[in-house]
Amino acid sequence: MKVLGLDTSGYYNAIGVADGNRVLADFAFEAKADSLEKIVAHIDATLQKAGVRLEDIDGFGVGVGPGSWTGIRVGVTVGKMLAFSTGKPVCGVSALEAHAYQVRNSASLICPIIYAGTRGVVYAAFYRKKNDTVIREGDYFVGGLADLAKLIKEQVVIAGTEAEKYAGMLQEMFTLLGDGIKSEITSPNGACVALLAARRLSHGESDDVLSLAPLYLKESTARAFSNAYSGGKG
């Protein structure tokens, strides 16, 4: 089963091609203003590197976030429209799960974190190894690192990509949690999203091509304000 994976939610735009549990190609480029401009050309180049034609792809994996809102809109749209135009299935994959999956051999609790674009606020979740994959425990987290640290009661592995923001967040977590943590710098999620999608597709699972949507975790400011306002009246 050949799968193209795509994740544009984070610091890097990542593209990977997997055949079952084997990675055929993995590529990442820094997410900047030209992300949209270059994404399709990089998909084409990564497929060529993998020696796979688009028409030979059996399914698509898309990082749905959380992360950059603009980034995930581009990734989710590209992923679902490639699936739509080739008639192949698509699987949405949480970017947090993809980071956790990269350190799935860890025996302790895994906490991937992604910078949320607002000073000090992160997206996070807790995962634990189960068989050869990771399972999320509890809800997704959006908030400050200090609040996240309060939720951690045991030995934990923090996982995230090699961005400047991550180094800063990690330093803060070390200060907050002392010796209770280890850190793993994870790679961009291209190949990993492809692997996770391949797993699901091989079990016959997929998402609806047309309704696949980003995982924002945060409402837009206007909507949050409006809800709070009407909530106050009600």
């Binding site: 030209d34 949209l36 401009e37 270059k38 994404i39 399709v40 050309a41 998909i43 084409d44 688009l54 809102w69 603009t70 809109r73 581009v74 989710v76 749209t77 590209v78 679902k80 429209m81 490639l82 739509f84 135009s85 080739t86 091509v209 047309l210 309704s211 696949l212 949507a213 980003p214 924002y216 837009s220 400011t221 206007a222 909507r223 409006s226």
Partner: protein, 341 residues
Amino acid sequence: MLVLGIETSCDETSAALVVDGKEVLSNVIATQLDLLKKYGGVVPEIAARRHTELIGYVIKEAIDFAGKKLADIDAIAVTAKQGLIGCLLTGVAAAKSLSYALKIPIVGVHHIEGHIFASFLSNPDLPMPHICLTVSGGHTMLVYVRDYCQYELLGSTIDDAAGEAFDKIAKFLNLGFPGGPAIDRLAAKGNRNAFRFPRPLLYADTFDFSFSGLKTAIISHFKENVLKNEPLPIEDIAASFQEAVVDVLVAKTLRAASERGVNAISVTGGVSANRRLRQVFQEKCAGAKLMVFFPQLSFCTDNAAMVAAAGYARLRLGKADDINLNVLPNAPLEVSCAGQD
């Protein structure tokens, strides 16, 4: 040539299939009217989210309604220039993916170029050159259309768009959003000469427009009534306001036509659906021996059929883009490209 058009530049998610830039097989438009009413206007982040949710459904519906298959599509045209960046992104990302997977050409279209072509869809015999006035909630532009894809921007608004003025006056009169249709309806019952509101820049030696002062003038004219909680003569205000806007739009467009020596005018964009605007244009153009053209109502507001028509014209002129097409939210309408390529 069967072109799939995609438009997501503001708050309408739209896809259309058009044959040879003329025959519209489908023109699916998903509006965000529910959100507009809730927030009183377009919230860029919310509009962008809605586009990403709807884009697949809208494209599929356009193909199904036309009774076509993906394999029948020969090219993709998408609004890539002028609009809200987060909104444009979804349309262009979808267009690029389709173009890549289906191995067919892609062409990026300027939003205003789309509006210029909306008139061609309803009036295939619209002559070249002509003057095109595009009036909507986001734009007020007077363009000399020399030939296909050869434009000269003569003037645009220096503050509010004409449609924005309609929305703001409608808000002042508590008519809800969008304001255009509500003002149009009420004005039909009012006296358009009840109040003599200002006609901004009417006699100024420029083709630029200004509507924010008109809005302020009206609001301050009735400040006393509002303070005293007196009922406003809303029908007369709507009619007199509308007349002021129409006077300016019509006078400037006719002056542009006379200055450029053209014999045809085209009026497009959401405000071109306004009945009084159409009526005055028809009267004045008849008097000046000018032909005037309007799109049918479904092509007035943002739609993908006009984008497909504009894209077809660009493809015919060899102006296809490639897989690295990007969005340009503030791109000006290209200046006359005669002799350039």
